[in-house]
């Protein structure tokens, strides 16, 4: 029932998204491309928050490491894009493990604080070594994914669909069930014989992999890697808001939330500075009054007699 209802919602939406380039202009396609990469950030984050029960306040640490590893290899070593993306993903996973192994020994809010500090460290390093990393201005890349809007759009849509399918499938699998149990009550999960740390660490690696890969894809779409687009705390906050808005523990909700955030930001652009305020206020209201998010109610069965 869960599956079928989800598919009834998702498949038509994907068909519409796939047909969009026939009807809308390059500008909107560009926005949506950005939104789809954000969607992968948010879905990866939901795997940790919704399922592993760990709040990662620094999603941009993983995103940033992936993006900058890819960018540096492309800029200085002229590796082909695919190799850069692969290396970026691996770098994100390694950085994730280095961060998570000690952090997962902590409980409660401390895990979140460690991840937050990690972002600040990464940001500082990038700015300190501006000579190599381009610092605040950013690092321009010799290669880009494609110059054509429609091609870029399809890259992003395909990437989001595949990532979403993998993450969603994972959460529906037995491993996802163990992960949820570990996230919600570690002692009970351990008493059932599950190594809670192992499962959380695995979730962190998977989240890091998709975050890093999406970070890399994003900079090769933009043609430049900068702190403001892939590392800044504000980017991370947007990812978190998108995931919570869309609906915790739904994966797909995170994608919906990302698209909503970027679309809303654009629609409200005439309001100028006020637009950020309005979007934030909407997010606040949803989080306060509908903590389940957009999809919280829609996707979940009430069980049957």
């Amino acid at each position: 029932m869960f599956r079928s209802r989800t598919f009834l919602l998702v498949v038509p939406a994907l068909v519409v998204m796939a047909l969009l380039p026939l009807g809308v202009g390059g500008y909107i396609l560009g926005l949506l491309t950005l939104a789809y990469y954000y969607a992968v950030f948010a879905m990866s984050w939901d795997l940790l928050f919704g399922f592993a029960g760990e709040v990662n306040f620094g999603p941009t640490f993983l995103i940033g490491v992936g993006a900058y590893a890819a960018a540096l290899l492309n800029h200085y070593q002229h590796w082909p894009i695919v190799a850069c993306l692969a290396a970026g993903s691996v770098a994100a996973v390694v950085a994730g493990v280095v961060l998570a192994v000690p952090a997962l020994r902590l409980t409660g809010p401390y895990f979140g604080l460690v991840t937050l500090v990690a972002v600040l460290l990464l940001q500082n390093i990038l700015v300190l070594f501006a000579g190599i990393t381009g610092g605040e201005i950013g690092l321009d890349l010799p290669d880009v994914l494609a110059i054509d809007d429609t091609t870029n759009y399809y890259y992003a849509l395909t990437f989001m669909t595949v990532s979403g399918a993998v993450l969603f499938g994972l959460t529906c699998s037995p491993v996802g069930l163990i992960l949820q149990a570990s996230g919600q009550n570690a002692i009970e999960a351990a008493a059932l014989g599950f190594n809670v740390t192992k499962h959380k660490l695995a979730a962190f690696c998977i989240s890091a992999f998709f975050s890093g890969l999406a970070g890399g894809m994003l900079i090769f779409y933009l043609g430049t890697a900068s702190v403001g687009t892939v590392v800044d705390i504000a980017v991370g906050v947007n990812v978190i808001i998108a995931a919570v808005l869309g609906g915790r523990r739904t994966i797909i909700g995170a994608a919906l939330g990302s698209i909503f955030l970027i679309a809303a930001g654009e629609l409200l652009r005439p309001l100028g500075q006020l637009s950020t305020f309005v979007v934030s206020a909407v997010a606040l209201v949803v989080i306060l009054f509908f903590p389940g998010g957009f999809l919280g109610r829609l996707l979940h069965t009430e069980g049957s007699e």
């Binding site: 699998s173 037995p174 491993v175 163990i178 009970e188 351990a190 059932l192 009430e302 069980g303 007699e305």
Partner: protein
């Protein structure tokens, strides 16, 4: 029969507190051992040490000959120990059957599709514990007893050599208790070693082969249920000195304005009536008990008095209406409620909790009050530097009462102070209340479902039933006039 569980010389300290001291016992295959003790006796800590949730400071825990002391919980579980938790914390979005399947899964990261056998096995287990009717429902739609069945089902699914059951019958009706006894007995029939952890012998006597009793972390007695029940030390620990009806010199009714007058008060929760036409009075210096079963409306009445819920009718304090005052204002006037949930600051020490209660007193007054309270509750003095979270239930209740007394209330409202406490603690609380009654001029309003505890401490009693006062009078008349429904 082989020994599946052997605990040898296990000691566990929390800071300076020795929660478990040199405890040893063994359980054979096909045997049920009851581990009993009042609150704070360390029985739960022993269970946690076996499961690896707490690491023992000394001693060994042998599971089928393998010493697992200090191992992480998941490895102990895989070696063959299952724990039936008292409180279940099920996943919200998974059905009952999915929960049982979870317990059947191996600890593997590569398990992307559960094989068909798992579903079949889960259904068999659901059938065995009586959950097949509700197997596709979500946990939150199920009654408490079914959630306990689910915990049993999860233990069965792991097929452990050693089954630990935490307070097997807490919160169950007598029919459900019979069902659960059968299920637990079936563990024994299958050759598992079973350890039941519970408050008293009576509850588990029919089920256990042997009983081990603990008190304050130490071994007290071991033997058949019969032997332990007749053991003199056990009797002293459990029954304590008899709680006596201490009547004190009759106080003259002041006749004037009562300290607290509740007139015709009604409270609605949505459309449900929680209180209806309640009128009670409490005179200065009186000890008044409000007795009634769970859900009769005691807590609601106290919350109305404390200004925490809106009500119709009037509540007067020394003739002055309290309506319109904030809860904080009412507390400052001298009505201090000690809620049944205790509401302690868990991460603060005993002393810090008390000092917070005495915030409005001058330093010198607070010191005097603190010294007096430590005299009233010597246990709190011993635990002065310990954090409130690590206290036993009885100690927490003492701390909650002491903290309320730090505020020097004129009227102390005690809501269910005995909830979930063992007899020995009741006796200590009872003594403290009696001291208050004899040596101070404090007024107390006590809400209780434990009538035997409430009566000795009452000058007058109100009986609350289904949101109404159904009887009021002197405690010695309660038994014959209104006792039938209560005692």
């Amino acid at each position: 029969m082989t020994e599946l569980l052997r605990v040898e010389g296990v000691t566990k300290r929390f800071g300076g507190l020795v929660a478990v001291k040199d405890i040893s016992f063994a359980v054979k295959a096909g045997e049920i051992l009851g581990l009993i003790g009042p609150n704070g006796s360390g029985k739960s800590t022993v269970m946690k040490c076996i499961m690896g949730i707490e690491k023992p400071n000394a001693g060994s825990v042998l599971i089928d000959g393998v010493n697992v002391a200090g191992w992480p919980t998941h490895r102990i579980a895989r070696l063959g120990v299952g724990l039936v938790f008292q409180h279940s914390h099920p996943l919200q979005r998974q059905t009952i059957l999915e929960h049982i399947k979870l317990a059947l899964l191996p600890d593997s990261l590569l398990m992307l599709v559960a094989d068909h056998g798992v579903t079949k096995r889960a259904e068999e287990i659901a059938e065995r514990v009586g959950l097949s009717r509700v197997r596709n429902r979500l946990p939150r739609t199920l009654p408490f007893a079914d959630l306990r069945r689910l915990e049993l089902a999860k233990a069965i699914a792991r097929n452990p050599k050693v089954v630990l059951v935490d307070e097997p019958f807490a919160g169950l009706t007598s029919a459900e208790v019979a069902d659960f006894s059968d299920l637990i007995a079936s563990f024994r029939a299958d050759g598992h070693a079973v350890l039941l952890v519970d408050h008293n012998v009576k509850g588990v006597a029919a089920l256990v082969d042997r009983v081990k009793a603990m008190y304050l972390g130490e071994h007290v007695a071991e033997g058949t249920a019969e032997e332990v029940m007749t053991n003199e030390t056990v009797r002293r620990v459990y029954l304590g000195g008899k709680i006596e009806t201490a009547s004190r010199p009759e106080r003259k009714a002041t006749g004037g304005t009562p300290l607290l007058a509740v007139n015709d008060v009604g409270v609605l929760y949505g459309k449900a009536t929680a209180l209806e036409n309640i009128s009670i009075r409490v005179d200065e210096g009186e000890f008044v008990s409000v007795v009634g079963l769970n859900g009769a409306g005691k807590t609601t009445l106290f919350n109305a008095i404390s200004g925490l819920v809106p009500y119709s009718g009037t509540i007067q304090w020394k003739g002055q209406a309290l309506s319109g005052m904030t809860a904080g204002g009412i507390a400052r006037m001298g009505i201090v409620q000690c809620p049944e949930t205790r509401e302690l600051f868990g991460d603060m020490s005993v002393r810090e909790n008390l000092e917070l209660g005495g915030q409005h007193l001058s330093v010198a007054d607070a010191a005097v009050q603190l010294a007096w309270l430590f005299g009233l509750f010597p246990r709190l003095k011993e635990r002065e530097r310990q954090t409130a979270r690590t206290l036993s239930g009885g100690e927490q209740q003492m701390l909650a009462i002491a903290r309320a007394l730090m505020m020097r209330p004129k009227l102390l409202v005690l809501d269910e102070p005995t909830l979930g406490l063992a007899p020995v603690i009741l006796e200590q609380l009872s003594k403290a209340l009696e001291t208050l009654r004899q040596t101070t001029d404090i007024t107390v309003l006590l809400g209780e479902q434990n009538v035997t505890f409430a009566l000795p401490h009452a000058d007058r009693v109100y009986v609350l039933e289904h949101s109404r006062v159904v009887w009021e009078g002197a405690p010695d008349r309660l038994a014959e006039e209104a006792g039938a429904g209560l005692l």
